[in-house]
Subunit: 336 residues, 2 copies
């Protein structure tokens, strides 16, 4: 399918009786160039009359910019997190007329990763990693090539630059405090087996227990896998513990939160009467179950928006902003 014959700035220039340069000056509001009002008006009229749209590809070529940012994610990312962050990214980039180019994080060697190729071939000007597993090796490689990038993550890498994350772990203390205020005696933890060194959830939990004067008991910590059934069984085992059953559980992710509720349903344990549950993280399904699940909500949209601002700043100015930490919020629903 052929594109309609496109009208170029040359056509506009001819129509308005000025030069191409003048058209460019006016349309891009170039500073330091003064244009007579009637000239400007003539050009604007011509633009409208001819229905002219600057060819961004040509513009990009001249400026050596793609006007596009690659957003890379792992394929198995929690949809909700990613979509929400994406919304923020989108809006942040949109303000500056950058577009979102969706990429996946799949490669054998970083050298032939898709996002590297895209950068090298000028299809994107920078990269935002949204909940993608980026290791030191990757970051060093990108640094060595001078590729602008920003990481948005729940587990900051600790590099302290080009990164946006959240203080959700700090709120675990609030949750434990809340449990305590409700007279809870035994608090359990259900979360994934830590797969990264900087996954601080379990540690934050333990510290919060100690902070509030609870003992840390290993039998109240269940670490689960990718397999939902396995996780569910583990939680059931925890809850069937006859000696001493926990009367509160902190679930380290939305998935573990849902599965904890599921386990309770299976055992006919009443929430929150028999057990209180709070999940770390956001999901729109928390409201769709009974009872609605309390949680530490992440500022996902804002994280995306901030990441967009950051990457553009890096591209424009070359200086990398410090780690940006945005605030999470402990939302009490009916499960706690």
């Amino acid at each position: 399918m052929k594109r309609k014959v496109s009208v170029s700035s040359k056509d506009v220039a001819r129509e308005a009786g000025v030069s191409q340069a003048t058209v460019s000056y006016i349309l891009n509001d170039v500073k330091g160039v003064k244009i007579r009002p009637e000239t400007r008006q003539a050009v604007l009229d011509a633009v409208k009359k001819l229905n002219y749209h600057p060819n961004q590809i040509a513009r990009g070529m001249k400026l050596k910019r793609a006007m596009s940012i690659g957003i890379v994610t792992d394929r198995n990312v929690t949809n909700f997190y990613f979509m929400k962050v994406l919304e923020g990214i989108r809006d942040g980039l949109q303000e500056r007329n950058y577009s979102v180019n969706l990429l996946y994080n799949k490669y054998d060697s970083i050298k032939d990763a898709e996002f590297i190729k895209y950068y090298n071939s000028t299809r994107i000007d920078g990269i935002i990693f949204a909940f993608a597993a980026v290791g030191d090796e990757e970051m060093e490689y990108m640094d060595s090539l001078g590729i602008p990038y920003v990481i948005v993550s729940t587990h900051p890498s600790g590099r302290g630059v080009g990164e946006v994350c959240t203080d959700h772990l700090d709120h675990i203390k609030d949750v434990i405090g809340y449990f305590k205020s409700k007279g809870v005696k035994n608090i359990a933890y259900a979360g994934p087996v830590p797969r990264r060194l900087n996954d601080g959830r379990l540690e934050a939990f333990k510290n919060a227990l100690i902070h509030h004067g609870y003992d840390v008991k290993d039998e109240f910590i269940v670490l689960g896998t990718f397999d939902n059934n396995e996780v569910c069984s583990s939680i059931i085992r925890l809850l069937e513990n006859r000696v001493c059953r926990p009367d509160a559980i902190l679930a380290a992710s939305p998935r573990f939160g849902m599965l904890t509720v599921k386990a309770c349903h299976m055992l006919d344990i009443k929430i929150p009467q028999d057990i209180r549950i709070v999940a770390v993280g956001s999901s729109k399904f928390f409201e769709l179950i009974h009872p609605p699940l309390s949680s530490i909500e992440l500022p996902l949209y804002d994280m995306g928006f901030k990441a967009a601002e950051m990457i553009l700043k890096i591209i424009d100015e070359g200086n990398i902003e410090a780690l940006s930490v945005l605030g999470s919020e402990f939302i009490i629903r009916e499960s706690s």
Copy 2:
């Protein structure tokens, strides 16, 4: 931040001792041009040595192609549907080296919709609407401009071209048949108030009832809004009906499925002993609740992949393929 000085095809040509044209021929595998093996090898070596990557922006300019497809969605789309379709689209486009440009479906007048602007300024070569509300007006406008587009939707527009959808409604008959085989007497329906003429869910339900010899009873049809609490209350009212309680429910969407289960939990109704539930649609949360929810699963990934193929075909050949209908599948879990 400045890009590293880029190496161009000119550099490669010089290095290999050939002309730019030859480099282009070799790298693009231009048919009808025979290259001597040693020349080809020399160029390939030079490419590797200089770490050359063709500038896609320049290429796009010459070819009058952005090598990018705009994916537009409503902002409030069900994440899971969209993400799954997106995966398919992504893989389909990737094969042909097209990239995914994410756009939102927000505008006052179609004339200044973002996706129109993107097309006009050569940032995208075509559009895939993924679960976005596109009306006749929009389609006519795009047709008049000759903009290539494809619609992926659960409710086909009936135009019969440039569209991919699924036969999930046909499986409603299977669900009712399944209920019947289990000795179910009263089947209820819970779904959203139809907002589009081509939303055939309720009608498919009624037809399926009749087909299997059930009566259509209005008091067993609950139509809900965006408000989850309202919907839940409506379903509870349905279930508290003393005269005659349904012993099976077809939920017309994942959200309604979840809310139906929630209502049962609130009333302590046992699933599937007291009531059987099946939802229309896909969600990864069906496995995270108790009991796991049976459903008619949509071929989301394949729909996306197909849409990608279709849009590229339209762009390349200008001819629009007929409506493509992909198969859904009734999956029995524990709730039915």
